[in-house]
C-alpha cells in the first residue's frame, strides 16, 4: 500500500508570514448565516483558491477579507491593520491602493472607454489625466488588450472585458487581488486565457491572489486550496502541498 504522508492540517499560512488573515469570522444576512466561525490566512505572493458549493459562504468570506463587508464578529487583519475596525473611508482608500478586485461581470463602467475604466483608480488617487491614461495603456498592454483602449465595455467580448477588468484591478499595483468567480461567465478557452494571464502577471508582480471558485479546473491554477462548506472551513478537505515554483 502506498503511504501518502498525511499533510499537517492547516488551511492557513504560518502566522509570521501572513499578509492577510482572518480569525473566527461570523457573518449573517438577515438571520441567514453565511459564515460561522472562519479563520484564514495568506502570505505574500501566494495564490489561494477558496472553493465550495453555491451558498457555502465563500463570496462572503472574500468580501469580508477585502474590507467590503464588515463581519458580525471576528477580526480581519491586513499587514497589521485591523480591517473590521477601520472606517469606511480608510477601507475605501485601502481598496483603491493596496487591493484589487475582480468580479464575474458588471464591474466596468459601460459609458467609459476601456482606457478610462482602467485609469479610474489612478484618477481617484489624484493623478492627472494624461499620466493616468498612460499608465492604463501599459497595463492594457500587459494583458494583451492595448488595441481596445478606446472601445466601450459593451463593444468587446466577455473574455476581453475581463482582461480589461484585470488591468483595472492591477493598475494601482495592489498587494492583494481578490477575484470572485472571474471566469464564471466565460467559455473554457476564454477562461483559461484569463486565468493564465492573471497568474502570470500576479507572479511577476508578487501579488497575493485570493480566488473564489466552485470549479476545480480553475482552482488548479492556484498554489493551494481552502474549501468552504456551510459557512465553515472544511478542515478535512485540505490541500496544503505547495508546488515548488
Amino acid at each position: 500500500m502506498t503511504t501518502n504522508p498525511r499533510p499537517t492540517p492547516s488551511p492557513n499560512a504560518p502566522p509570521q508570514d501572513a499578509l492577510l488573515s482572518a480569525r473566527a469570522l461570523v457573518k449573517s444576512y438577515e438571520h441567514a448565516p453565511a459564515l460561522r466561525g472562519v479563520s484564514f490566512s495568506a502570505s505574500r505572493g501566494e495564490i489561494v483558491a477558496i472553493t465550495g458549493p453555491s451558498g457555502s459562504g465563500k463570496s462572503t468570506l472574500l468580501l469580508c477579507l477585502a474590507g467590503i463587508l464588515i463581519p458580525d464578529a471576528g477580526e480581519v487583519r491586513f499587514d497589521g491593520l485591523r480591517l473590521d475596525e477601520a472606517s469606511e473611508a480608510e477601507r475605501s482608500r485601502l481598496r483603491r491602493t493596496s487591493f484589487g478586485v475582480l468580479f464575474q461581470f458588471g464591474q466596468l463602467v459601460p459609458e467609459l472607454s476601456a482606457s478610462e475604466n482602467v485609469a479610474l483608480p489612478l484618477l481617484l488617487g489624484g493623478r492627472p489625466r494624461r499620466a493616468a491614461v498612460a499608465a492604463a495603456g501599459t497595463w492594457l498592454d500587459r494583458f494583451g488588450v492595448s488595441d481596445l483602449g478606446e472601445r466601450r465595455p459593451g463593444e468587446v467580448s466577455g473574455g476581453q472585458a475581463q482582461r480589461i477588468a484585470m488591468a483595472r484591478a492591477m493598475v494601482t499595483e495592489p498587494q492583494v487581488l481578490f477575484a470572485d468567480e472571474p471566469t464564471g461567465a466565460l467559455d473554457t478557452l476564454a477562461g483559461e486565457q484569463v486565468m493564465t494571464q492573471l497568474t502570470r502577471v500576479a507572479r511577476e508582480a508578487g501579488t497575493t491572489v485570493l480566488l473564489v471558485t466552485h470549479e476545480a479546473t480553475i482552482a488548479a491554477y492556484a498554489d493551494r486550496e481552502v474549501a468552504v462548506r456551510d459557512g465553515m472551513i472544511d478542515t478535512d478537505a485540505f490541500a496544503t502541498s505547495t508546488v515548488a515554483r
Binding site: R6, E192, M195, A220, D236, A239, S241, V243
Partner: protein
C-alpha cells in the same frame, strides 16, 4: 480502438520500422502508457497477415535486420474506415476509487471512507495543478495542451464523484448515528 489502428495511423505518412514506431508513439501520445516492443512486433505481424501492411526496404545497419513496414491500399482503407467510426462510450468503466470506497465501507467504517476520499481528493487536485502548469507553460505544443486538457477533464470528473461520495458517506454516517 486497437494498437493496430494506431500503428496504421503512424504509418500513414511514410514507411517506418518497429523501433521508429515505438518512438513516434511516445512522442505523439505523451500521456499514454508507452508501448512495449513485443506488443508492437506482435501487432505488426497481425497487420501483415491481414494484408494492411507490407514489408518495405530492408536495412542493414550494424546489427540485426530492420524491416520497414509500409501501408497498403487496403490498410489505408481500413484506417479511413476506423477514423470515420464513432467510439462507443465505455459501458463498463472500471473505477478503482469506487472499489476502494466500497471496500472501506465494508471493512472499516464511514470515517475511514471519508478520510480516504479526502486524501484522494488532495492527490487529484495536486495532479490537476501539475497538468495546469504544463499546459500554461509558454510555448507548449498543442499535443501537450490537448493531452493535459483531457487529463484535467477526467480528473475533474473524478473530483466531482469524490465530492458527491463524500456527501453521501457523511449523510450515511449521520443516519447511522441517530
Amino acid at each position: 480502438m486497437s494498437v493496430g489502428h494506431v500503428l496504421l495511423g503512424l504509418l500513414a505518412d511514410g514507411e517506418r520500422h518497429g523501433y521508429d514506431l515505438k518512438r513516434q508513439y511516445a512522442v505523439r501520445f505523451p500521456a499514454a502508457r508507452p508501448l512495449a516492443a513485443a506488443q508492437i512486433y506482435a501487432t505488426l505481424e497481425r497487420l501483415l497477415r491481414d494484408g494492411f501492411v507490407v514489408p518495405a526496404t530492408r536495412q542493414r545497419v550494424n546489427g540485426p535486420d530492420r524491416t520497414s513496414y509500409a501501408l497498403t491500399p487496403p490498410g489505408r482503407a481500413e484506417l479511413d474506415r476506423w477514423l470515420d467510426d464513432v467510439e462507443p462510450p465505455g459501458l463498463f468503466v472500471a473505477n478503482p476509487l469506487a472499489i476502494k470506497v466500497t471496500l472501506a465501507l465494508l471493512v472499516a467504517d464511514a470515517d475511514a471512507a471519508s478520510s480516504y476520499l479526502n486524501r484522494q481528493r488532495a492527490a487529484h487536485l495536486q495532479q490537476m495543478r501539475e497538468h495546469t502548469r504544463t499546459k500554461t507553460t509558454p510555448g507548449a505544443p498543442i499535443t501537450r495542451v490537448l493531452a493535459a486538457d483531457y487529463a484535467l477533464n477526467h480528473l475533474d470528473a473524478d473530483l466531482r464523484w469524490i465530492d458527491t461520495a463524500l456527501a453521501r458517506v457523511t449523510a450515511l454516517a449521520e443516519e447511522t448515528q441517530r
